[in-house]
């Protein structure tokens, strides 16, 4: 079965609507391809998104604010994000002309370098903490990344 990707912008949009409505405690919207349930908690929003054949994914957003791509932004039973441990510039390869450390579809091992973050003129190698398949690289090469930003998603059930 092919992996279906969530439309993250849709999820963010629904969460934003729930967040901006102080009267609303829970919101559920459902279309033939996607169902999103939002349950609000004090100070934030808890959301569950599911696709017909998929497992639920918890999504946290910021009320009245573009959903940050923070460490808790995307996680699930089997999708583990690699997050930025510092602020800096994200590089997929050690040098501009070198091959990327990993590409989507690659299997990574714990401790394997998956990218570099340059901060204060220092190049910091970022390692995967889990074994699995890189299903998505979320950040463009040479982009600035925030602390905690999800850089890529690793599917730990893949082999």
């Amino acid at each position: 079965m092919t992996e279906q990707k969530f439309d993250l912008d849709q999820i963010r949009a629904v969460i934003r609507i729930a967040s901006e409505s102080p009267d609303v405690a829970e919101l559920e919207v459902e279309s033939p391809t996607l169902k999103i349930s939002v349950k609000k908690v004090s100070g934030g929003v808890r959301a569950v998104a599911s696709q017909p054949a998929g497992n639920p994914v918890a999504v946290h957003g910021a009320p009245g604010h573009p959903a940050p791509a923070g460490p808790a932004a995307v996680s699930g039973d089997h999708l583990v994000p690699v997050t930025a441990p510092m602020v800096g510039t994200f590089y997929r390869a050690a040098k501009p002309d070198a091959p990327p450390f990993v590409s989507e579809g690659d299997i990574v091992e714990p401790g394997q370098t998956v990218c570099i973050i340059e901060a204060m003129k220092l190049f910091n190698e970022i390692q995967s903490e889990v074994r699995g398949r890189v299903v998505r690289i979320l950040v463009d090469n040479a982009s600035p990344v925030e602390y905690g930003q999800s850089l890529m998603l690793v599917d730990t059930t893949a082999s």
């Binding site: 102080p22 004090s42 100070g43 934030g44 910021a62 009320p63 009245g64 604010h65 940050p68 923070g70 460490p71 510092m86 602020v87 800096g88 510039t89 901060a119 204060m120 600035p144 925030e146 602390y147 905690g148 930003q149």
Partner: protein
């Protein structure tokens, strides 16, 4: 003028700096910790960047991440606010090294004023009165005894790197000196990493009166009058006002001139505050200088009609102040109450939580500086300041009555606040008469009588 400025801070002061930047046409970058994702400064800034986990040491004090953000987003200035990195000469130097303007004084001025003993010596040399005491740090007990004999008891032992009351001991007799030195040193070492101590004559029931100054890079230094910050609890200011009650204009003018001398003596630029201890006979002594914007700057803005943060940014960009001492005119009276998320009925314990309802006061003569809003979750990691209410009146009476009115209508549900405490102070007959001193709260306010806040009706 700057094109883009990063605010290395959070809370109400980050919002305050964003407001100043917007009025100056400067784009803003907010930085925030994981705990502040929903903070108002993040929502108001043009850009926002997460710089670390909730702990301040890993986020708002994380110089590498802050500097990386500054460089990645191409800012040309950093405003440190107060607290965090505001009085860190090292941070100010790093900014200099990478050609980003630090909105504050030069590192040397921060460093001098950061060392209490060095500051004292410099001030004395500049003709600014200091409390009689040791010339520089005291090395041992016999030296301390010698100085105590010459200035007379009681004396106070202080930490050179001190602040907030830590590393401080009042000594009434020569027999107690040894123990006071030992405990103060231990406290100072634990709190500041330096056990260096100095001695001063102890001034009983002093007032805390400070002078706001502004200095540009063209040798113009002016003062904006004085603030009385005597209403404190454990060395934390709670209520400030300008002008200080019951004080003649001539006295404030003398304080102001001394403050300007102090600034000139250390080649100060930016906004800053020179704090004085004032004794019952009207003698004043240099206490310390805060080389940053202060929480209580709005009371001065209200009576002078200036915008201190805008002027601070303007002079950081190399511009001239554009106003001279003669242009500064004090009008009316202003009071600030710090509304903290603390429970005054339980020893002012910090009370983070979610602000369920938040209806700030409005109307004539009322200013509110806050980062809170209905639904805001106060994180437990930082200070408890939730809002500053500042009222202006044609005279002190009107400012007090208006503050009472504003606090009565301020609706904050979900967390206890210091509002009931402030109402007690405002109703206190001694306060109304302007009889204030730094131990006012201890002496005049019986916190045990604090009842739950009366209902609106």
């Amino acid at each position: 003028m700057f094109r883009k400025l990063l605010i290395a801070n959070r809370g109400e002061i980050a919002v305050r700096v964003i407001r100043a930047c917007r009025e100056l046409g400067i784009r803003t970058v907010a930085v925030y910790s994981d705990a502040d994702r929903h903070a108002l400064h993040v929502r108001l800034a043009d850009e926002a960047f997460c710089i670390g986990p909730p702990a301040a040491a890993e986020s708002y004090l994380n110089i590498p991440n802050i500097m990386s953000t500054a460089e990645l987003l191409g800012v040309d200035a950093i405003h440190p606010g107060y607290g965090f990195l505001a009085e860190n000469p090292h941070f100010s130097e790093i900014c200099q090294d990478v050609n980003i303007t630090f909105v504050g004084p030069p590192p040397e001025a921060i460093a001098i004023m950061g060392n209490k003993a060095a500051a004292r010596q410099r001030m004395k040399a500049a003709g600014v009165p200091v409390v009689p005491g040791s010339e520089g740090p005291v090395r041992n007990e016999s030296e301390a005894l010698h100085i105590s004999n010459s200035v007379g008891f009681p004396i106070i032992v202080k930490a050179s790197a001190g602040g907030g009351g830590r590393g401080m001991r009042v000594v009434h007799t020569r027999e107690d000196i040894r123990r006071a030195l030992q405990t103060a040193q231990a406290e100072a070492e634990a709190a500041f990493g330096s056990g260096e101590l100095y001695l001063e004559k102890y001034v009983p029931e002093p007032r805390h009166i400070e002078v706001q100054i502004l200095a540009d890079r063209h040798h113009n230094v002016i003062h904006l009058g004085a603030r009385d910050c005597s209403i404190q609890r454990r060395h934390q200011k709670l209520l400030e006002e300008s002008p200080p009650p019951g004080v003649r204009e001539r006295f404030i003018s003398a304080l102001g001139k001394a403050a300007v001398r102090a600034a000139h003596a250390i080649n100060y630029t930016s906004a800053g505050t020179v704090e004085f201890l004032v004794d019952r006979d009207g003698h004043f002594y240099f206490m310390e200088m805060n080389t940053r914007i202060q929480v209580e700057h709005p009371v001065t803005e209200m009576v002078t009609g200036t915008d201190i943060v805008k002027l601070q940014i303007k002079v950081a960009a190399g511009e001239k102040l554009g106003i001279n001492q003669g242009d500064v005119e004090i009008r009316g009276h202003a009071i600030e109450c710090r509304i903290n998320a603390e429970d005054p009925r339980h020893d002012f314990r910090p009370s983070p939580g979610t602000v369920a309802a938040f209806v700030p006061p409005g109307g004539p003569g009322v200013r509110v500086d806050t980062h809170a809003y209905a639904g805001y979750a106060i994180p437990p990691y930082y200070d408890s300041l939730l809002a500053k209410v500042i009222t202006w009146g044609a005279n002190r009476d009107e400012a007090i009555t208006r503050m009472r009115r504003a606090l009565m209508e301020f609706e904050i549900a979900g967390v206890p606040t210091t509002i009931p405490f402030h109402l007690m102070v405002l109703d206190n007959a001694f306060f109304r008469r302007g009889e204030v001193y730094t131990n006012f709260v201890q002496r005049r306010i019986d916190l045990s009588t604090l009842t739950p806040r009366p209902a609106q009706s």
